[in-house]
Every structure is written in C-alpha cells, then in structure tokens.
C-alpha cells in the first residue's frame, strides 16, 4: 500500500520490542541444540547403515530374524493403534462431553502411562500374567501364553501408547463444547449418527495427529516390550529389540540398518505432522479472509 508512513523507527526493533540481535542469538542457540541432539544422531544412523554400501544395507534387512522383527513390529502396531483409537476416542468423549462421578479419576488414569517408567509398565504385566503371576496358574492350565509371547507385547504397547490419542482429543473436544451434539440430538439423530456426522469431522485433525504419535511410539517402544517379550529371536523380537541384539553382537551395520528404518519412520511422522499443520493453517487463513464483510476472496 503506498502512502503509508511509518512514524516509529523499526529498523532494529520488532513489534514486541526485542532487539534483532537477541532474536538471532536465541534462534541460533535453538538451531545448535537441534543440530547437535537431533540432526547429528539421525545423520549418523544413516551414515553407519550405509557404511558398507547399499548391498550390505539390504542384506541386513533381508536376514530372516531381522525380517521377522520388522513383521512383528508392524503386526503389533496394526493391533495396538486401532485399539488405542477406540479407547482414546471413548475416553475423550466421556471426559469432554459428560459429567459423572469418577471423571477426575479417569482423567488421571489417562495420564498414568506417561508417569510410569516403561520398564515398570512391562513388569506389571509379568506380575499379573506371568507364570508366577496372579493369573499364571489359570493361564498355564488353559495353555494360553501372554508373557513371552505376542499378546503380552501387544498389551505392553497398548498401555504405553494409550495417552497419545486421548490427550490430543480431550482439550480439543472440551474447547468445542457439546452444543453441536445437542443440536443434532434435537434434530433426531441417534448416538452413532451424532458421533459419525458431527463429532468426528470436528476432531479429525487432532485425531490424525494423535494416531501419528501413537503409531510412532508403538513402533519404537523398547523398555516395556523388552521386559515382556523374552527376546526369542524370530518370534518375540520387535525392531527396537532386534537393534539391541545386533548391536550387542557387534553387527553394527545390520544394527544401524534396522535402526535407520525406525529413524525413517520418525522422519515420515514429522513430514506428515507438518503437512497436517500446514493444511489446517491454510484452512484457518482461508476462512479468516472470508469475513461477512468480504464474502468472496479476490
């Protein structure tokens, strides 16, 4: 816009009053931090994985135990994430839309897996379902294996990743209130229709982000799974466990090869998250530009 006069000197101070050199210093420090603790290790993983060339990289991944570890991780995640999707959405729905006795307790329980050490989480399941555990004798009598088998790993993973989806949704749903749901109810919609047509579209971005986080953590979980898995090669080894085994056996290229897959997952998660955020911001900006005074853009 021509003809606009700036009357305050803005050449070295921005709108919040801090000098440019301070801004640059702080950003510089943040970048150094990110560089040292995030980018350098990630770069190191890929460098080490490809140290002996691409062929060795692929061999490391095709090795039967490595391959079954990859398959197991994908299986566990494919079970744990949908389960937590259902649990998370249900818990968030109950906490955000209803008043009931014990609501504060449920909210605290949702955060419990965050405050418990993953090793302790795994140990809990061993104590309950293990051979000497509470249900041990019953399980042995019915020939059901939970600990040192896939079900135990699923349980431990579900526990550890439970809060991600719920915590993402609860503040979102609370902020949105339940007036739209009430309106839908008065118009004759039943519970499922209200959820599917009104609630779900309103929370879809928060839900997607929660699922992405849950997925990343489910694939990368080490501590809890380590306790319950028994480390049986080819059967109960997930990718993170397999990386540990390979590294302990001085097969560093293979170890880094498998680790690089997990690192790749982290990068993919980051990209998806950025795309989701960018899309949301663009949506918001479009809607903000279309005020009632300017019903059409352009």
């Amino acid at each position: 816009m021509s003809g606009v006069q700036h009357t305050t000197p803005t050449h070295n101070v921005n709108s919040t009053g801090e000098p440019v050199w301070l801004r640059r210093t702080l950003i510089g420090i943040a970048l150094v931090f990110v560089g040292l603790f995030l980018i350098l290790p990630l770069a190191a993983v890929f460098t080490e994985a490809l140290r002996k060339g691409v062929d060795a990289f692929v061999e490391g991944l095709k090795e039967p135990d490595a391959w079954s570890a990859i398959k197991l991780t994908l299986t566990i995640t494919a079970i744990a994430v949908p389960l937590n999707l259902v649990f998370g959405v249900s818990a968030a729905w109950a906490i955000a839309k209803f008043e009931f006795r014990g609501k504060a307790l449920l909210t605290t329980l949702v955060d419990l897996p965050f405050s418990v050490s993953p090793v302790v989480a795994g140990l809990i399941y061993v104590l309950v379902f293990g051979a000497q555990g509470w249900f041990g004798p019953w399980l042995q009598a019915h020939d059901v294996k939970i600990i040192f088998a896939v079900p135990g790993i699923v349980l431990a993973t579900v526990f550890v990743t439970f809060p991600f989806i719920a915590r993402e949704l609860i503040p979102l749903m609370q902020a949105q209130g339940n007036e739209e749901e009430q309106a839908a109810m008065v118009l004759g919609a039943n519970g499922w229709q209200i959820f599917w047509r009104v609630t779900l579209p309103n929370i879809k971005w928060g839900l997607l982000y929660g699922v992405i986080l849950c997925n990343a953590r489910a694939m990368g979980e080490f501590g809890a799974v380590s306790v319950v898995s028994g480390h049986i090669r080819g059967q109960t080894n997930t990718m993170p466990l397999h990386v540990e085994i390979l590294y302990n056996e001085y097969q560093s290229v293979a170890a880094f090869a498998v680790a690089s897959l997990l690192a790749l997952l982290a990068l993919v998660t980051l990209v998806i998250k950025s795309v989701v955020e960018w899309k949301q911001q663009r949506l918001m900006a479009e809607l903000a530009a279309l005020t009632p005074e300017r019903p059409v853009v352009g």
Binding site: Q182, Q193, L290, P292, P295
Partner: protein, 338 residues
C-alpha cells in the same frame, strides 16, 4: 400443538432453578419467557424440549403425556443462543441435517430434500449462501440459518433460547420484526426466552414473567404492562420510581412510571413532590429528567421523569431549578407488618 406444563420443579444441587411451575400454552401462540438472568427461563425451555428432565411435574403436548419422551422423539425445533451450527458442514448441509438423519423408511428422497432445503433458505432469504460455511456468515445470517435448520423437520413446537442475544441492536430489531412475521405465516406454537423486556413486549402474543424459578405473571403485553401483578413485574418492565412509606397497616411501596409524572415549575404553596432538576437529556421526542427530592426525609434518591421534548423546550427548564411533580397514576403495594 398446545403445551400443558404442570408442577415442574428442578434443582441443580442446592440451587432451585424451578419451583412448581404451571403454564398452559395454546396452539399457534408465540409466547415469551421473560425474566432476569438465572431466573430459570432457559431451564424451563430445555425441559419442554427434553434436553433436561424435571425432578417433578409433567409436560404434555396436546394432552399427550410427553414427560419421559426422549428429546429426539419429541419433534421440537430448538434454536440455540449461539446457534450451534455444524461448523464443518455447508449451510445447505446444515439445514438438510434433520432430514438426512431420518431412519430409512421415513427419509425423503434426495430430490425432495433439495427442494425442501431450497424452500427454507428462500423463506429466510438466504438461498444464495447455500455453499458457504457458518464461519463465513454474519451473526444475523447464522441465526436465520439456525432457524431454517430447526424448521426443516417440521417441528410441532419451536423453541428459541435468547435468539437475538448476541446481535447488534439494529440487527436485533430487524430480526424481531422478521420473526413475528414468520410466525404469523407458519403458525407453529413458539416459545422464546429473553431477558429483554422490550423484545418480549414487542414480539409475543403472551408474556410469562419468571423470577427465581416462579411464574410471577402471565398475560398479553398490554395486560402485564398496564396491570403489573406485583413489585417484581412493575420494576422489571420499564423504568419505575419507588417511594417507600409507612402506614398503620405496614410498609408501603409506591410505584410511579417516569411518564406518569406531571412536571411544573415550583411556586410556594404547590402540592406534590418538590425536587431539584439535576440533569436533563433530550432523546428523540422525549426529555428524560433526573431530579433530587428537596425533602430531607426523602426515601428515594433520584426521581426519573419523562415529558415530551417540546414541552421541555417550551418551558425552558434549567438545571438546578426547583420543580414540582404530580403523579397521574401510581400503584401501591403494602407489605403487612408482622
């Protein structure tokens, strides 16, 4: 569709929102529930709709017991104070919602839904906004869409919760008139909640005054204005001057409306209320006078009087002058001494 409300009571914890409310609403009426914030009017509206359940009492629609019918079966239309439009759906889909969620055997065809929605959008004069999202509409437009959405399912009763509360004064006035005309065309029994007495008196067929969970008076706007049943109604509707006194029977409260006071310049020997003109404000065709009684035993501090602006100008009253006021009409309530 008439509504019979019998002995409705509702408590929230220790707070009594409604106490033994009885009300009859005739078919096709437009009724206003009027009262101060927290008086229970919204709670009553929500109980009629089914969004809340009463602790005691019953609701009947045209004689049919409705107290325990779920809200989605009651076929009522509800317009929320903040519209509650579905933010991720277009205006068209918002209005079509009630028709789309019908069970398969009662759901209209797609063509029928299209026609109905367009008819409704035309009714509220917003057909050109069909593809917009609620966030792209102004407050007044959102309100009309919320109304169209409620009407789409052809409700037996239309309930509106402070429908014009969050709108500009000019928009409010226009929508008030528009709602009145719409009601006359549609002839649906309608109940709206408001704390704005001007709105209630201007729009409704009958006004129900509610205070602290109890019905204080029911009547046409003219009736409740001319014959207020008690001090609350008198004080709530319009401005009023209150004079307290004492008689052998007990304490008296005398209510006089500002426009029921005759104003003259004071000369010694005049009978009436002698007061000093503190401030005068000429607004349109009316002069609002603020007066302080010239009496040390005065039991009211500021007296408000209203006279035609022409009279004020002709008389050339000056601030600080002594004037004498004579009431043309007043109402006295006596509180019996124990």
């Amino acid at each position: 569709m008439s509504i019979e409300i019998r002995n409705i009571s509702k408590q929230f914890g220790d707070f009594h929102a409604l106490r033994n409310v009885n009300l009859d609403i005739a078919s096709g009426e437009l009724v206003a529930l009027l009262g101060p914030s927290g008086c229970g009017k919204t709670t009553l509206l929500r109980i009629i709709s089914g969004l809340e359940t009463a602790d005691q009492g019953s609701i009947a629609f045209s004689g049919e017991e409705t107290t325990h019918v779920h809200v989605r079966e009651r076929q009522v239309g509800f317009v929320f104070q903040h519209y509650a439009l579905f933010r991720h759906m277009t205006v068209f889909e918002n209005v079509a919602f009630g028709l789309r969620v019908r069970p398969k055997h009662t759901r209209p065809t797609e063509a029928a839904i299209q026609k109905k929605v367009h008819d409704l959008l035309n009714l509220v004069q917003l057909d050109w906004l069909g593809d917009r999202y609620p966030s792209q509409l102004s407050g007044g437009q959102r309100q009309r869409i919320a109304l169209a959405r409620a009407l789409a399912v052809e409700p037996r009763v239309l309930l509106l919760d402070e429908p014009f509360g969050s709108l500009d004064a000019k928009v409010r006035k226009d929508l008030r008139r528009w709602l009145r005309r719409l009601h006359d065309d549609l002839d649906v029994t309608s109940i709206f909640v408001t704390h704005d007495q001007e709105e209630a008196l201007e729009v409704a067929d009958r006004v129900v005054l509610i205070n602290s969970g109890k019905v204080e008076q029911v009547g046409s706007p003219q009736q409740v204005w001319d014959n207020p049943a008690n001090p609350f109604v008198y004080g709530f509707l319009g401005d009023v001057n209150l004079f307290k006194g004492r008689t052998p029977e007990g304490e008296t409260h005398t209510y006089i409306r500002p426009h029921d006071l005759d104003v003259r310049r004071y000369s010694p020997g005049d009978t009436g209320i002698v007061a000093r003109l503190e401030r005068a404000l000429v607004v349109g065709s009316v002069a609002r006078l603020e007066l302080i009684p010239n009496d040390d035993n005065a039991t009211s501090d500021v007296i408000e009087a209203e006279i035609p602006a022409n009279e004020y100008r002709d008389q050339h009253y000056v601030e600080g002058e002594l004037l004498v006021l004579t009431p043309r009409k007043s109402q006295v309530f006596v509180t019996q001494s124990a």
